[in-house]
């Protein structure tokens, strides 16, 4: 097991280096000179030159990339062009709202999505199943930003019981969490339902029934543990989608999180922050995927056995 964890962590490094090259390339190959944006149209040629030298923009792209990479590995993401604060500091300052929002939403999505999927599968082809399926399709298709605005319209303007935006009080987290969890909840419910329908028809479930075990025992011991394996994978894969949703939800509800920071940074061509922010998201996503794989290995003894042997 330890060897498996170790291998997975080693495997992460080239992916993250790849992401850093990708982001660096996208942002630096872009038209537009950050020095000009920063100093405005009134800047003299000399000022521009000095700033470029200060930011290292006059060196070759390869040199710039390696400086960026070695600094990043030392935990130095550079300084924000806009505020001149270290990027890492800005990211960590904004991390809390994003983390809380993502954790709450994932918890809600799992807590509602799994029971909903199980219910739909147990009552297959009844009105309850149809209703769950419809709700899941709807949750999967509604644009998050629109859902957010409609909730705002309903609960902040028409029946003013919730604050429309901002961050700090727990009431301000209710609508963003609902919005961010909807999509993942729908995906989890659908996955749980189809996985459940498949497992119920397996031979070992029939055997358990034939042995005369109670329905509840079969559900808990034989069905659920097998149903959860693909559900965990899908929830993990969907975490990336959720991180994307964080960006949009934070913008809709004016929450000062990492997503909002990236959007603002793009508008100001503050590329150290954009680079750092996206790398930060990719890092989080990779860590979550690593976690998912480990849970997966724990849930499924076949995988554990494979790595014990290998």
């Amino acid at each position: 097991m330890l060897r498996y964890i170790f291998r997975r962590i080693v495997f992460l490094i080239p992916v993250l280096i790849g992401v850093s090259i990708l982001i660096f390339a996208i942002i630096r190959l872009a038209p537009g000179d950050p020095a000009e944006t920063l100093l405005g149209p009134s800047a003299t040629a000399q000022d521009l030159q000095e700033l470029r030298e200060q930011l290292g923009l006059n060196k070759s792209l390869v040199t710039q990339y390696f400086t960026f990479l070695t600094n990043t590995l030392k935990g130095d993401f550079g300084r924000s062009i806009r505020t001149n604060n270290p990027v890492l500091e800005e990211l960590l300052d904004r991390f809390e709202p994003s983390l809380i929002l993502a954790l709450l939403s994932m918890t809600l999505a799992v807590a509602v999505g799994i029971p909903l999927g199980i219910l739909a599968a147990l009552r297959q082809n009844t009105w309850m199943d149809t209703l769950c399926n419809l709700a899941a399709l709807l949750g999967f298709s509604l644009p998050g930003f629109w859902l957010g605005l409609m909730l705002m319209l309903l609960f902040s303007i028409m029946i003013p019981i919730l604050p429309s935006s901002g961050y700090g009080a727990w009431q301000q987290l209710i609508m963003p969490t609902l919005v961010l969890s909807t999509n993942t909840m729908a995906v989890i419910a659908r996955m749980t339902r189809s996985s459940m329908l498949e497992v119920v028809r397996q031979d070992y479930v029939r055997t358990a029934k034939a042995k005369g075990l109670s329905g509840r025992l079969i559900l808990v011991r034989h069905i659920l543990s097998n149903v959860l394996i693909p559900v965990v994978t899908v929830a993990g894969l969907h975490f990336g989608h959720m991180l994307g949703g964080v960006v949009i939800t934070e913008t809709v509800f004016s929450i000062p999180g990492v997503g909002r920071l990236i959007i603002d940074a793009i508008r100001f061509q503050d590329y150290p922050v954009v680079q750092g922010g996206i790398l930060f998201f990719a890092f989080c996503l990779s860590l979550v995927n690593l976690g998912v794989d480990l849970i997966y290995a724990l849930l499924d003894p076949r995988i554990k056995a494979q790595y014990r042997a290998g």
Binding site: P14, V15, L16, G18, V19, I21, L22, I23, I26, I27, L29, A30, P31, G32, L137, L138, F140, S141, L142, P143, G144, F145, W146, L147, L149, M150, M152, L153, I157, L197, G240, H241, L243, G244, G245, V247, I248, T251, I262, I263, I266, R267, V274, I278, F281, A282, L285, S286
Partner: protein, 294 residues
């Protein structure tokens, strides 16, 4: 479903009967048929927008601004006095256009990459799939935001950004199919008669991956339309004054208190398109893969 490399009448019949069979399975699913009808209606609405819209998309009326829905303006007017119904009808053009082109970019590049790496395997496979892992390590919409942010916000860059961020999913699907097809006898037969690698990929590998590509593309158009609207909503996509649902929402948002119809209808339009595509895509998957149906 091995296809012979030379076109014969028998092959054509077989293909037609296959499409017929898929249609027979699809039409049992009422939801999927409804989804298809909605998609066709919306496409017709987009194509015939100039004939259907009561006003031009950017025509500012002399009447009141931000007016609520009325007989004259069924969905009201926006802050410039433009008729919202007309803008929504025209908006279908941009959304469907962006959706289809973006998926085209993703499916063509992704499909080709997947077919090549699946067919050759080995080192090529390893390198390209690691590159796909890198693309997958960045959340799709954030990758699109970065691309649009770097290239500049306009229609073409939006399609590129959304399309590129969709490449990995097609690459993965086609690769998996290609891997399962490449060892089969009809591929070896094609090799034996001296067919070039390119010809084998185009004539033997790709046609056998069509089912998953079609399903994924249908669902992909839905997610591309959502991403494009989200980017426009963030101000990183289609720029005003173009009639686009996402940017209409972002404009209407400022008047939510007094003119909620400006945020309600554009979002509803996005939701309807995406829902129809998702329902149809689901039905199509069931129809193409009978194993999944109970």
């Amino acid at each position: 479903m091995p296809a012979s490399t030379t076109p014969t009448p028998a092959k054509k019949d077989k293909r037609q009967s296959k499409i017929g069979e898929i249609w027979r399975r699809l039409k049992v699913n009422k939801g999927a048929v409804a989804g298809l009808v909605v998609i066709l209606l919306l496409t017709a609405m987009a194509v015939f927008a100039p004939y259907l819209a009561p006003y031009g998309p950017n025509k500012m009326s002399a009447g009141p601004r931000l007016s609520a829905p009325s007989m004259k303006h069924p969905l009201g007017t926006d802050s410039f006095g433009r008729d919202q119904l007309s803008r929504i009808i025209y908006g279908a053009r941009i959304s469907l256009y962006v959706g289809f082109i973006a998926v085209g970019i993703g499916a063509v590049f992704g499909g080709f990459i997947g077919a090549v790496v699946g067919y050759y395997g080995g080192k090529v496979d390893n390198i390209l799939m690691r590159m796909m892992d890198v693309l997958l390590a960045v959340p799709q919409i954030i990758l699109a935001i970065a691309i649009v942010g770097a290239l500049g916000a306009n229609l073409v860059n939006l399609m590129i950004a959304v399309g590129v961020s969709q490449i990995p999913r097609y690459a993965r699907i086609v690769r998996a199919s290609a891997l399962s097809v490449r060892g089969q006898e009809f591929v070896e037969a094609a090799k034996a008669i001296g067919a070039s690698d390119l010809r084998i990929i185009m004539e033997n590998i790709l046609p056998n991956c069509m089912a998953p590509i079609i399903v994924q593309s249908t669902l992909g158009v839905a997610s591309a339309i959502l991403s494009a609207a989200a980017l426009s909503f963030l101000g990183l996509g289609i720029q005003p004054p173009a009639a686009e649902w996402g940017s209409m929402l972002s404009l209407g948002r400022q008047y939510m208190r007094n003119a909620p119809h400006l945020t309600f209808y554009p979002g509803l339009s996005i939701a309807v398109v995406v829902l129809a595509l998702n329902i149809f895509g689901d039905g199509l998957r069931d129809a193409l893969d009978p194993k999944l149906r109970q």
